[in-house]
Homo-oligomer: 117 residues x 2
């Protein structure tokens, strides 16, 4: 599942999408259920590699949910998220959560990677 094992598309190097969520604890279970459905829309798109939604072990952690997804290129990511079916579901999720979910999405490169010797 490393980017290294994936062929890159002609349009660019692999990219990591990370979304850091601030969310009320009472909203977490419902949000995960909704996210599980939305991510299926992404999983079939060209250039999608994988996605993990992480949940904090401690309720005291500032960011209770963190999504880390890998794409073959930024262009593939942009094309997938431009799909109106995706944006309408994302908007619906925001409406459901009544403002208690603050996402912080961004695209990243791997600056340093280290594996156990």
């Amino acid at each position: 599942m490393t980017n290294d094992s994936q062929a890159t598309t002609a349009s660019g190097p692999p990219v990591t999408f990370i979304n850091v969520f601030e969310i009320d604890e009472s909203e977490i279970d419902g949000f995960i259920t909704g996210w599980e459905k939305r991510v299926q829309l992404m999983a079939g798109k060209p250039g999608f590699i994988d996605s993990r939604l992480h949940r904090a072990r401690s309720a005291d952690s500032r960011f209770q949910l963190v999504n880390v997804s890998h794409w073959e290129s930024e262009e593939a990511y942009q094309a997938a998220t431009a799909d109106p079916a995706f944006s309408s579901r994302t908007q619906a999720a925001r409406d459901d959560a009544k403002g208690t979910v603050a996402p912080n999405p961004a695209l990243y490169d791997v600056a340093v990677a280290v594996t156990a010797p």
Copy 2:
């Protein structure tokens, strides 16, 4: 590099350590250099699987750096970071950065994982 391919230790399931950094743009390059040295202290510890430091593609992103590391168990992570050599280097990095780096470290479980079909 998935946790699934690693044998878990007797002490617990695999865990993901994520550290979300708020950092002044001018500090980023120096911080990455220091981090690259510090992570070597971790890489040889029992239970360490891998670690990636991600850098935002856009200077406008709220969180310019995000570290995602995998450990065989929370106990292995706790034991590694209890090493005084590690804490002293981490403290030195904080002092060098003069308060312009705000880390948000936490431990996570994978709530949902999806791979391209």
